[in-house]
């Protein structure tokens, strides 16, 4: 055969293959960009790896800079999935609605627990929410009298004259915002509260500095390096670390969310639909528990029964 004929044959075969693959639903193509929370970064990485193993034609890009990055990315269209470790505020939802005409699709993912952590050698017997407000803020939750030294907080012994060094997250973090609204009642933290870029950095810093106190999700807590003092409620009951995820009255429990820039009543496009099915599958739930979160079920979790090819 002539060279030209061979070339035509090759082109024809390729075209046929392409046509065949586009009508075949098994090879999904596309790029999934997930923007948002640092708390969810590990879980998103696990899910991304599992999902692209299942769907080889899909590539997943992950940017974890903080929950506050998700709503602007969804509005601008630079992300097709937004992960947030706090619920989107009514103002952020309104801004999205003003741009797109409909509110974003909200999917509650999992339950996470935030623990107050201290150094391993800190003998603090227990901690209460007013104590946290007085250590991290000035005048938060309507109480003044800041606590500056560990002796005043009840930690007797070698640390009693040591200054309390509080560490938290940067202002873009959903964990920071959750802590501010729950533990500081919406008030401002002290300027001396350190701002660290990730929950792992908080754990590292609290483990290294004897007089440090911080907050992080329990999935990050390594009990060999930091200690979680039991939380005493106003009723007098203490909640120990192991019971924190299960106790309903533990005040620092939060829901983690996924947001999609799609209208709730319309059909989901194939890529997002397959991703949601994956994360609700048994493998996805297993990875979720491996990341240290509790799965939740309910009417607001849409498991698409089948996706259009």
């Amino acid at each position: 055969m002539t060279e030209r004929a061979l070339l035509c044959l090759r082109c024809g075969v390729m075209l046929l293959l392409l046509a065949g693959s586009s009508s075949n639903g098994a090879t999904l193509q596309g790029k999934l960009v997930i923007v948002g929370s640092d708390t969810l970064a590990e879980l998103m990485t696990l899910w991304a790896a599992g999902f692209s193993a299942q769907q080889p034609g899909v590539s997943v890009e992950l940017q974890a800079g903080g929950s506050a990055a998700a709503p602007p990315a969804l509005i601008r269209g630079t992300a097709n999935v937004g992960s947030m470790s706090r619920r989107m505020t009514a103002a952020e939802k309104a801004r999205f609605s003003a741009e797109r005409g409909f509110p974003p699709l909200e999917i509650p993912l999992a339950l996470d627990t935030i623990a107050i952590i201290v150094n391993r050698d800190n003998p603090l017997p227990f901690i209460t929410m007013p104590m946290v407000a007085r250590m991290f803020g000035d005048g938060a939750c309507g109480v003044r009298d800041p606590i500056r030294f560990w002796g005043d907080a009840g930690a007797k012994g070698a640390l009693s004259n040591t200054r309390i060094e509080a560490f938290g997250r940067t202002a873009a973090s959903g964990t920071y915002e959750f802590f501010r609204s729950r533990a500081l009642c919406g008030g401002d933290p002290l300027p001396s509260v350190g701002e660290l870029p990730g929950s792992a950095a908080v754990i590292d810093t609290v483990a290294a500095i004897p007089g440090a106190i911080g907050y992080a999700g329990i999935g990050f807590v390594d009990q060999a390096r930091v200690r979680v003092p039991p939380l005493r409620l106003a009723s007098g009951r203490s909640i120990a670390f192991d019971a924190m995820p299960d106790e309903e009255s533990y005040p620092l429990q939060r829901t983690l969310y996924l947001y999609l820039p799609l209208a709730a009543d319309r059909e989901l496009p194939a890529l997002e639909c397959q991703f949601l099915r994956y994360i609700r599958s048994s493998e996805g739930t297993r990875l979720l528990e491996r990341a240290g979160f509790l799965p939740i079920n309910g009417a607001n979790n849409r498991t698409p029964p089948a996706c259009r090819p």
Partner: protein, 650 residues
């Protein structure tokens, strides 16, 4: 040389000269381009777009989270407080008998939209005055009942009985600290709560006043205090705060529409309206709608109008909930919270870290340059100089990470020892130098001087060890048991692990190579004839170096310090990794800091594109850029002038 090749050479020279001139012009243009781009991004902060007439939106724009009631809430209860997600609310009202009633509701389950609510336990007091306003304090613990006359009562929200704490707002006359609320409000008076619940506005004919809640000590009721007031020259008819807080739309009798930004206390714009306005309403954060008799007109504001001014960036501002004006950097991400863009703590931290770095880098760098230039043997100089300059290639990220992981956890424990060593080494070397002159012969001295660094190394290590031990034992002898507890207890100095001294030391290590190479360059470029001439006239080596060479090299050494300062000001990774990024403003070297460069690194990628936060970060970066640009240019001018001066001398 043939005339052809000479011509060709001249042409080549001219061509290359032109190329170099074009290249340097391009460099200058690109620097100006960067400057211009940053200035364009920061410009909308200071140049308001103002109120622009906008077309009515084609589709109905949803109202920004003005809370609507669930159907089961009785009509006489109004929303008094809500959180940012609007799923946790308090309703308060007066029933037909004038008694207080209220309920607290929450949608706590994330999987459904069911309200869980419980009635509030309120004291059985009936109020018969008309025009009462019921407000909840920011911590959701107290209820304020404000009368039109200006008096208010505070009741705890969950009390069984009613210990009422009746307090009057300051009345006319008397020497109260704040201006007064008139005893009887005028006819068009009203009250509205600012979003976020931390402050509220009251207005009469010509004044709008912003009042905020100040927390009290534990167990006591909070205070309501005047925050600021605005005087307007025409009668106020309606006041509407924007959904995100801070901006307030005002309709006056003129008829005019005005927009007031509370935090920066600026009137953003004022427009004359055509017709008699009935109502003003915010459609979104930047969009206003004024309702007339049969029509509506829409107005659009720029997103960053009024949000920031030079005063708000550089001067202390009185924020909601704070007892006094303060410098704060807290550009919070969530809505309803007042963002605080005070650049001064960042600039202070930047300069503080840079100065501590220079405190370490200048003696070490310039001293090393003088020694290498004057006294070092040529063989040792050939190894030492490149080695020191290679230190400049050491990535600052690695330096920062090593400092944060290895040094920071132990810094406070080692502090007395480090201070002891820092004093012992120079003192010990000085004593050695003085005794050395009197004991060792001149010829022997001159032979050894070139190799001093190698010979002195074990001595320096020994001195450091002695100093460390001395420092520790002295500190153990202080009342309190250690230097740190003595400072904390006796002097109230707060000491933290990741402090300015540590950051400055790490930055100093990164800056030493730069200062050294520029200073050494300056010393090396002094013409040898000067030193040779002074030596020939009978001066000793040290005399000729000190009195002849050093003054000529001085401008270059000063330039080295300025360039080192510029480098230290722009250093990002060390501050980011070693500091805990606390925007504190004090002179205490043992307290933390936050620099502009670290703030840019942490926040620029998360700030929403073209938002106020984004633009303020660019403005801060511009300030930093200008500072280093001016410093480096001055240093170069100084160096060039000194070089020309030297050539003229020749």
């Amino acid at each position: 040389m043939s005339p052809v090749s000479a011509r060709r050479r001249r042409r080549l020279d001219r061509g290359f000269g032109l190329l170099i001139r074009i290249a340097s012009l391009l460099v200058l243009l690109s620097v100006l381009g960067v400057f211009a781009q940053m200035a364009m991004v920061a410009r909308p902060l200071f140049v308001d777009r103002g109120l622009e007439a906008a077309a009515a939106p084609s589709s109905p724009v949803p109202r920004s989270y003005v809370t609507d009631q669930p159907e089961w809430v009785p009509k006489h209860l109004k929303t008094a407080a809500f959180d940012t997600t609007a799923r946790h609310r308090i309703w308060i009202g007066l029933n037909r008998r004038g008694e207080l009633e209220g309920a607290r509701g929450e949608i706590s389950n994330p999987s459904n939209d069911l309200w869980q609510y419980q009635p509030l336990v309120l004291p059985k007091i009936s109020f018969t005055e008309p025009g009462l306003h019921l407000l909840i304090d920011p911590s959701w613990r107290w209820l304020a009942i404000i009368t039109q006359a200006g008096s208010y009562q505070l009741l705890p929200l969950e009390a069984q009985q009613a210990p009422s704490v009746a307090r009057s707002l300051p009345v006319a006359g008397g020497d109260t600290q704040y201006p007064v609320l008139q005893r009887g409000l005028a006819e068009h008076s009203g009250l509205t709560v600012m979003p976020g619940g931390r402050s509220f506005l009251t207005w009469d004919t010509f004044h709008i006043r912003q009042w905020h809640w100040l927390p009290a000590a534990r167990g006591e009721a909070p205070d309501i205090v005047l925050l600021r007031q605005l005087m307007i020259d025409s009668a106020i008819q309606q006041v509407a705060p924007a959904p995100a807080g801070q901006r307030v739309a005002i309709i006056t009798e003129a008829p005019m529409l005005m927009v007031w930004h509370t935090t920066t206390h600026r009137l953003i714009d004022a427009r004359r309206l055509e017709g008699i306005p009935r109502d003003v309403d915010w459609r979104s954060e930047n969009r206003l709608s004024v309702e007339f008799a049969g029509r509506r007109s829409d107005w659009q504001l720029g997103e960053s109008d009024g949000a920031v001014s030079l005063a708000s960036l550089l001067a202390p501002i009185h924020y909601e909930g704070y007892s006094a004006p303060s410098y704060r950097w807290l550009p919070v991400a969530a809505a309803d919270a007042e963002p605080k863009f005070g650049l001064v703590p960042l600039l202070w931290g930047t300069v503080k870290a840079a100065l501590v770095a220079l405190l370490f880098a200048i003696p070490v760098g310039v001293g090393a340059a003088i020694f290498v230039g004057f006294f070092m043997s040529p063989r040792l100089r050939d190894t030492a100089k490149p080695a020191l300059e290679l230190l400049a290639a050491f990535p600052s990220v690695v330096l920062g990470a090593l400092t944060a992981l290895l040094v920071a956890p132990h810094f406070i424990a080692w502090l007395p020892g480090i201070l002891g060593a820092a004093i012992a080494i120079p003192m010990g070397v000085l004593i050695l130098a003085v005794s050395w002159r009197s004991t060792v012969a001149t010829t022997a001295r001159r032979q050894v001087v070139g190799w001093l660094p190698i010979l002195l190394m074990p001595v320096v290590v020994l001195l450091a060890w002695i100093g460390f031990m001395l420092g520790e034992s002295l500190s153990a002898g202080l009342p309190g048991g250690s230097l740190v507890s003595w400072l904390e207890a006796q002097h109230g100095v707060s000491v933290v692990h990741r402090n300015a001294l540590l950051i400055g030391l790490a930055m100093g290590v990164a800056t030493v190579p730069l200062v050294f190479s520029i200073a050494e360059d300056a010393i090396h470029s002094v013409p040898a004839v000067l030193a040779a001439g002074s030596l020939a006239l009978g001066a000793t080596h040290w005399q000729s170096y000190r009195d002849v060479v050093l003054p000529v090299a001085a401008p270059g050494i000063i330039a080295a310090c300025m360039i080192g300062f510029g480098r230290a000001v722009g250093e990002t990774m060390i501050v980011l990794l070693v500091a805990s990024n606390t925007p504190l403003m004090d002179v205490n070297l043992l307290e933390g800091l936050r620099s502009v460069s670290a703030t840019l690194a942490l926040e620029l990628s998360e700030a929403p594109f073209e938002s106020v936060h984004y633009r303020v970060l660019f403005a801060a970066g511009l300030a930093l850029f200008l500072l280093t640009f001016i410093l480096n240019s001055l240093a170069e001018i100084v160096r060039l002038k000194s070089r020309r001066h030297q050539e003229e001398r020749r």
